[in-house]
């Protein structure tokens, strides 16, 4: 077991453990905060895998933006701050069985398929911002631009959905989208 494997195993244990807490805790705000821990540990895992730029984007977008959005949602829906027993639906044992079956199948297949493969992590700079930037703007320009349009469309859609005066302006019910 090399040092990289030990580091990744620790980070992966933190990520999986805090993800378990996200789906089992009884406090909504704590779930969002454990999500921060899980995503941070995953960013550390990306660093071990030499994907530096992806790691920093993960920290910026996920930890910085998405979790803040989720916390906004929790506050705006007036969720209970304390522990509430009604966060889980009654069929959670079936859900747990499905999840354990999924994990068993995936882990078995992956270990049987790739268990003895090794990947070289020696050379640095394979996932740096320079490499990824040239890859994006040399090879992946068209998907990048399409993605910009998608992001713009989704932002406009979110604004239209969440502003109450957009629908109040036109009276008829059919044309309010």
């Amino acid at each position: 077991m090399t040092g990289q494997e030990i580091a990744f195993a620790l980070l992966g244990a933190v990520a999986v453990g805090s993800a378990l807490l996200v789906v089992t805790t009884r406090r909504l705000v704590h779930a969002a905060l454990w999500l921060v821990v899980s995503f941070g540990a995953l960013a550390g895992g990306y660093l071990v895998l030499t994907a530096e730029f992806v790691a920093w984007v993960q920290v910026l977008i996920y930890v910085g933006a998405i979790v803040v959005l989720l916390l906004f949602g929790i506050m705006l829906t007036r969720a209970p701050i304390g522990a509430s027993a009604e966060l889980d639906s009654p069929n959670r044992w079936i859900a747990a069985a499905v999840a354990v079956a999924t994990a068993a199948v995936l882990v078995t297949v992956l270990v049987m398929g790739f268990g003895d493969e090794r990947m070289p992590l020696a050379d640095g700079g394979a996932g740096s911002a320079e490499e990824l930037g040239s890859a994006v703007f040399r090879t992946w320009v068209l998907p990048f631009e399409v993605l910009s349009v998608l992001l713009l469309a989704s932002l406009v859609g979110a604004i239209v959905l969440s502003r109450p005066d957009v629908r109040a302006k036109n009276g008829d019910r059919e044309g309010e989208r």
């Binding site: 990744f8 993800a19 994990a103 268990g115 990947m119 859609g157």
Partner: protein, 128 residues
């Protein structure tokens, strides 16, 4: 590094996300579980990009694209959740049954506000 480490972590994260989507009742917690599943996919993409030594960096670029799509999804999802909350005063996904099949033992929950626009609410649930 053995390829088994990141792939097993990704598989465990994905199944935790599956459990969260199936078992949680609050819509925002369901969105969080979807984020967990997307992160598992991202970890796999980065892992196989590094393993295959992809010269075009397809895996890592796709990871960036997935992160952007996750941001768009969370924006739209939260807008829909807030709209449902505004109409119903609750966001429990197993009590939003307007689109369910007609069954005799379960009556669909009516809107909490009597003047809530029924068609708009249905459209929102269809979009979920």
């Amino acid at each position: 590094m053995h390829l088994a480490y990141p792939t097993v972590v990704a598989a465990l994260l994905f199944s935790i996300g599956v459990y969260g989507v199936l078992a949680r009742r609050n819509a925002i917690l369901v969105l969080m579980s979807v984020e967990l599943m997307l992160n598992a996919v991202n970890l796999n993409l980065v892992t196989f990009d590094v393993w295959l030594r992809d010269r075009l960096h397809g895996g890592q670029v796709l990871t960036l694209f997935t992160i952007v799509i996750a941001a768009a999804e969370i924006g739209i999802g939260l807008a829909i959740v807030l709209l449902v909350y505004r109409n119903r005063r609750m966001i429990d996904v197993d009590r939003l049954r307007d689109l369910a099949e007609d069954r005799t033992d379960e009556r669909p929950v009516r809107p909490a506000r009597p003047d809530a626009e029924d068609g708009a609410v249905r459209d929102e649930e269809a979009a979920r």
